[in-house]
């Protein structure tokens, strides 16, 4: 696939297409059969080695569902999933535009990857702690976090429970089982394994679900997570969202030319699944399988969610600098929202009328939530957050040296306001 370098014997992987090339993914086969089989969740990990190289699918691109992994969930649940994904996409659109208008400093979309976060949240119990990255706002949506609360975080305003301490999108919502997102990639993976170990230690049935992009699997923390999960049979799920890109680096740089990311788990004796991440039902089924395995004491599963990052990395990124423009459109696994919709239509649980109504409802929800949120401040106005709150929550109580600094700040700040 990759062009071979002619300049050196040092091999450096390159993506198949660059700006100007016509992307053609015919080498990535959409499997015709709905393989692989679904083993018992308590099976020996070796039985899942082949799953790491295959691709679990349930939904055909034409909308039929099929095969052993069909989770058999009812139409209401499917419609809920569709709704959450559509909210996610509408929210992304809105917040991206608001960033362009200077209302927030930064935003990151999850376009094309909505099925992963939404199906994960729906397949797990609400008490299961998820350790997400910045591309899984769908979890919060699916778990019922109010849109306005999220938007206030994005706007860093006085409605933000984090009081503007964190970059937009680095949410923390304990009540919704959403662990505080770190700006440092990878670090949370092993923390999630520790959380899972704590669940086992305390004897609860809860588990942890940790997420990384395929790019960040190169961090040591990924190795720690797999290794400790293996040693202590920690009740957790280790998810790799392979959206093909890590900012401008294609997945081959993260060593994805040599092997799939799911296969990383095989060598540690962990169960491994690889799933079509644009297939809501397949993701749901895989999460359910792995959650059952973890809860029953079978230990961790590594799941690779095979998908595509349809948009730029963040509002700071311009993907046309490093990949063809219409790349995402020709991705052979389609769009997760369209695919679930096609399925619901096929089983006569969805139609244009309902779709329009939902679109409208969502637009209203986003619009009104945003309006309410913006009233509480934005980058373009006053945040409304007292700046001296920056000295809080460094420690449980403010130690004397920090108290002295706060006092100094208060005086300086008064002076500043005076000068202005």
């Amino acid at each position: 696939m990759s062009k071979k370098s002619n300049q050196s014997r040092l091999y450096v992987p390159e993506p198949p297409f660059r700006p100007g090339d016509k992307p053609d993914y015919s080498h990535i086969k959409v499997p015709a059969e709905m393989t692989p089989p679904r083993p018992d969740p308590m099976c020996d990990a070796h039985e899942t080695a082949a799953h790491a190289l295959g691709l679990i699918r349930v939904l055909r691109l034409t909308g039929e569902k099929e095969g052993p992994w069909d989770p058999n969930i009812n139409a209401d649940t499917l419609r809920a999933g569709l709704r959450f994904m559509m909210i996610n996409r509408a929210m992304d659109e809105r917040m991206f535009n608001m960033q362009r208008q200077g209302k927030l400093s930064f935003y990151m979309k999850s376009t094309g990857e909505e099925a992963i976060s939404v199906a994960m949240a729906m397949a797990l119990n609400d008490n299961d702690m998820i350790f997400p990255t910045y591309r899984q706002v769908g979890i919060l949506i699916a778990r019922g976090c109010p849109m306005q609360d999220m938007m206030c975080q994005l706007l860093s305003n006085k409605g933000d429970a984090l009081q503007g301490k964190s970059l937009p999108i680095l949410f923390s919502f304990k009540d919704y089982g959403f662990f505080s997102v770190s700006g440092n990639l990878g670090t949370q993976l092993i923390q999630g394994v520790g959380w899972g170990m704590a669940c086992a230690y305390k004897g609860t049935d809860d588990i942890a679900s940790v997420i990384t992009g395929e790019g960040a699997t190169a961090e040591g923390d990924f190795h720690y997570a797999l290794n400790f999960a293996s040693t202590y049979r920690a009740p957790c799920i280790i998810n790799v969202v392979n959206n093909q890109w890590a900012i401008s680096s294609f997945q081959g740089i993260a060593a994805g030319e040599g092997e799939t990311f799911a296969a990383r788990g095989t060598g540690y004796g962990l169960a491994t699944l690889r799933v079509d991440g644009n297939d809501f039902l397949a993701v749901y089924a895989a999460m359910q399988w792995a959650a059952e395995r973890a809860r029953r004491g079978g230990g961790a599963t590594v799941i690779e969610h095979f998908t595509y990052r349809k948009e730029g990395h963040s509002t700071s990124d311009d993907p046309t600098k490093y990949r063809p423009k219409n790349d995402g459109e020709v991705w052979p696994f389609g769009d997760p929202i369209e695919r679930l919709k096609a399925h619901l239509v096929k089983i006569k649980e969805w139609d244009d009328e309902r779709d329009e109504a939902l679109q409208k409802e969502i637009a209203d929800y986003i619009r009104s939530s945003y309006k309410a949120a913006e009233k509480l401040g934005s980058m373009a106005t006053e945040s409304g957050i007292a700046p001296e709150t920056m000295f809080e929550q460094v420690y449980e109580t403010i130690p004397s040296h920090l108290e002295a600094q706060r006092a100094e700040f208060m005086i300086e700040n008064a002076r500043k306001v005076g000068e202005e």
């Binding site: 923390s172 670090t187 092993i190 520790g194 230690y201 305390k202 400790f228 460094v394 420690y395």
Partner: protein
């Protein structure tokens, strides 16, 4: 009350807390069945169970990572790093994660964990069994850094650390495990059984952070130090028969600035001692604070006596170690200055 060396005192602190609180657990390399390469956890697995004191893979980053996850989930993990020299693979988890989880989440998630690790030289450990990296941690907001110099403090401070709701780095001067060390490697070894501070209550007690301990009272100068160097300072002062305040800081962050300032304002002269490398060592911060708060009282330049700005060389260990001769030179210098 019982006679304990520092190893026993540290073990006792963990034992007391594990008995009181089922959320306390201990892990690290070789700490389980074996009880740790310095024996600090010996017997804890037998007493409290396999799942409360256990071995980990050799992965300091992983150890810190699971400690954070467990702490966030409501436990109170105590993680041992076998030597402070090996803490760096866990540095990111400590500095970027443990120390910042509370801030990042504005208090929603916290990391009440304790990291125990032996520091300092004097055991022929060479470059990678002798380091004193405290200054790399005192620069990290959100972390507390503690270093005892004797069994009594070690137990009380460790209990306070375990009970603290923020992450605490607990540094154990390994040269003091068995007895005070006055800086002369050729002198016969002294052990804690002959020392007041080896008298340690068996039950629960706390030694609070941010309080220095004055181990000598005097008027001519102030010595600020911690860890192994506390004893070297005392030996030098005794030798020179000078009248000195010696402050064993114990808690580097938060720091007992009040006691420091009070003493230096009284004496007008100050020597700072530590074993770590000089440049950007914690002595620099101490010097900065003394000059910020006591400038008008100072009668001579503050002196630092520290390890040299080289790695800790194996064969030249005692040439590297800031021993009594260098300490005495510095004392004389500030007294004359």
């Amino acid at each position: 009350m019982a006679r304990m060396n520092m190893i026993e005192a540290i073990r006792s602190a963990m034992d007391v807390k594990m008995s009181q609180d089922p959320d306390v657990l201990v892990f690290g390399e070789d700490v389980g069945f074996f009880g740790g390469v310095f024996r600090c956890t010996a017997g804890l697995q037998e007493t409290h169970g396999l799942h409360r004191c256990f071995d980990t893979p050799i992965s300091e980053g992983g150890i810190m990572g699971i400690a954070i996850g467990m702490a966030a989930a409501g436990l109170r993990p105590i993680a041992e790093i076998q030597f402070a020299d090996y803490i760096y693979p866990g540095y990111d988890q400590i500095a970027s994660e443990a120390a910042r989880l509370r801030y990042r989440s504005n208090g929603e998630f916290t990391a009440p964990l304790t990291i125990r690790t032996p520091v300092g030289g004097g055991i022929y450990g060479g470059q990678t069994h002798s380091q004193s990296p405290e200054a790399l941690f005192t620069h990290i907001s959100g972390l507390k850094t503690i270093i005892p110099s004797n069994p009594y403090d070690a137990k009380g401070l460790l209990i306070t650390a375990i009970e603290d709701n923020d992450p605490v780095l607990f540094l154990e001067p390994k040269r003091l495990y068995n007895g005070p060390f006055y800086g002369d490697p050729h002198a016969p070894a002294v052990n804690w059984s002959g020392h007041d501070l080896g008298e340690v209550p068996e039950g629960h007690y706390r030694v609070e952070f941010e309080k220095a301990r004055k181990i000598a009272d005097g008027d001519d100068l102030t010595i600020l130090t911690y860890g192994t160097m506390v004893w070297v300072a005392q030996a030098a002062v005794n030798d020179l028969e000078v009248s000195a305040d010696i402050l064993d800081l114990r808690s580097l962050l938060p720091l007992d600035l009040e006691s420091i300032a009070e003493s230096v304002k009284k004496t007008g002269r100050c020597v700072i001692l530590h074993e770590a490398t000089k440049t950007s060592g914690f002595g620099a911060e101490l010097m900065a604070q003394v000059q910020e708060h006591c400038f008008y009282s100072l009668e001579a330049p503050i002196e630092r006596v520290t390890g040299w700005d080289t790695p800790y060389p194996h064969a030249q260990e005692w040439a590297y170690f800031p021993g009594p001769i260098r300490v005495k030179t510095a004392i004389r210098k500030v007294l004359e200055g």
